[in-house]
Symmetry: C2
């Protein structure tokens, strides 16, 4: 075995720890439940025990490069403090990095979970051939990550990449972050269910209402199932998801002109239902996309940004993620490898 | 004299050419009118004559590092084609770089005018101490530029930085780019005058209406003058300018977490009238700003993003540009120096 590192994907539900070698091959993976209710010390204990288990088991086979941990929240990279974490409320303003390092008696790299997912897709997934990538992760919330020049773009405080809190509707639905009309309020699983309940309030006899009444786990997935069966209310919701994603992607394309934008997370399984609206918005709203679209069927030219015709240069790709829920785990394992390369 | 380079600021009205040395000192500046109506060949002729004049005059004093030209439009950096240019319509899809190089018999660097303005402010202006900067230029339109790691972030096709075409209102005012509700439609000089005319349509007896009727050059500046005299209609317009800038800046701060954001261009003279609204929106809409605000009077905490308190790390600065209309000229002159350093 080559050198390897240990990646951790700390989620609000699952805690996963994996050894991954330099070629991206899995060494061993441990999946645990995240015992949020038992408090941060218990979660850190479980995490560190699993890290130690993998480190000990392979210490005679290959050198351990380091440990990377994806955390669902905003992390101040200078201090190692978690600044915001809706799913791990008792981690906020807690010196998580120091606590983990003290327990393991070695350094670790903490990073936002959506940032490591972007790095994972860049390393082994949909953006493998690109060094500049933006990724949106559509889950309970909407996470974002930017990889520029092959590395996570952390920004001045390590807080960059919060693409889910881009304003889509200035007077829109209130968001937990304090803003209104964030993308997260229109493109997360939570938002899909909320929009379905709003539709049900308008039409209590619809198939959506029936599904909500009979399905105790009425979720974004149930609504997607209705959409693929042709239910118009459900389809409208996913078109709106796509429209909001398209608005944010258009502004990103105009601002950053990246070669590739990757959409992952649980809601991305509904790609067929929301992606046509993304491309509609991109063609209408982004003059840079219009000039760099990969192909542009004549029927779609109507209303396209001004009179820009796609040019001969790099094409702008908007595509689904490939690694599913493993993106964050592999991205976290990648962190120590990049830190190593920098030395 | 040190080594020097020649920068060109090609505007829709003025054409300015300057020799600038490596320390940023002006060697000589030539200001011409841009004779747009006489066509691109005449404009390129005037430009090249002035470049040649400066190059010849100083050729025995110091080595010429190169020539950088800021062009008001979207430029495809691979091909040297101007892809979009509202102010130079006959330059679109014209191989401008090749035409200029052929005439001068040397290489030149073409770059978007707002990008070079950002580089100028980074080199010698408001962002001098930072290597990562975003700049918005509020003029006839709204230009944008990103400097990351000390260099202009060009994106895959050289089209990055079009921050003026960020969507603020998804169903808002139509923009020349094909989109609706672009920042440019709410924060440019053109937009200020349009919004004033909209206000006049609602109230024909207001001081705004009187000014519009008596002032043959009714402009954003006239409206600003009314605002500082306390006219509520005029003040409301600039508050809306600030609100829209604040919405876009909030999303930029959340996405990129840069240390500094600079606002320049003619409309930025109205800073006092629109900037309070920018900071209001930033505090409300950006959890990253809330965590990194430079100072945060307790009275402003209401409604601030979630419960985030400013942390100890880098502060997020939003400030006025310092170089005025020279930012683009100096930034253009800087281009060959950075290209030189790369070799």
């Amino acid at each position: 075995m080559n050198q390897f590192s240990i990646g951790v994907d700390l989620g609000g539900t699952n805690l996963r720890i994996a050894g991954v070698d330099e070629q991206g091959a899995l060494v061993e993976k441990v999946t645990l439940g995240t015992k949020v209710a038992r408090g941060r010390d218990a979660v850190i204990g479980d995490m560190c025990d699993a890290i130690q288990h993998i480190a000990d088991k392979y210490k005679n086979s290959a050198p351990l490069l380091g440990i990377g941990i994806g955390v669902p929240g905003i992390i101040d990279m200078q201090t190692g403090l978690v600044r915001e974490s809706p799913n791990l409320p008792d981690w906020v303003d807690y010196p998580a990095r120091a606590a983990i390092e003290q327990r393991l008696k070695t350094v670790v790299i903490l990073e936002n979970d959506a940032n490591v997912a972007a790095l994972g897709e860049k390393w082994l997934g949909a953006a493998k051939d690109y060094s500049d990538v933006a990724m949106l992760t559509l889950g309970t919330g909407v996470g974002g990550g930017l990889v520029l020049g092959g590395k996570i773009w952390q920004g001045a405080n390590g807080m960059a990449g919060e693409l889910g809190h881009t304003t889509v509707e200035p007077n829109g639905h209130p968001c937990g972050c304090g803003n209104r009309g964030c993308l997260e309020q229109y493109a997360s699983a939570t938002a899909v269910v909320r929009m379905a309940r709003e539709a049900i309030a308008n039409n209590g006899a619809s198939p959506l209402a029936q599904a909500a009444g009979s399905d105790p786990e009425f979720s974004a997935k149930s609504i997607y199932n209705l959409a693929i069966q042709g239910d118009e209310d459900a389809r409208r919701i996913f078109r709106y998801v796509g429209r909001c994603l398209g608005i944010v992607l258009s502004s990103l394309v105009n601002s950053l002109n990246l070669p590739i934008y990757v959409i992952g997370g649980g809601v991305s399984s509904a790609w067929e239902a929301f992606s046509p609206a993304i491309f509609e918005e991109l063609r209408l709203r982004s003059l840079v996309y219009a000039a760099t679209a990969p192909h542009d069927p004549p029927g779609n030219r109507q209303g396209a940004s001004a009179h820009v015709q796609p040019g001969p240069g790099h094409k702008t790709i908007v595509t689904r993620a490939l690694l599913g829920s493993d993106a964050g785990l592999y991205g976290a394992a990648r962190l120590p490898m990049l830190a190593e390369a920098k030395r």
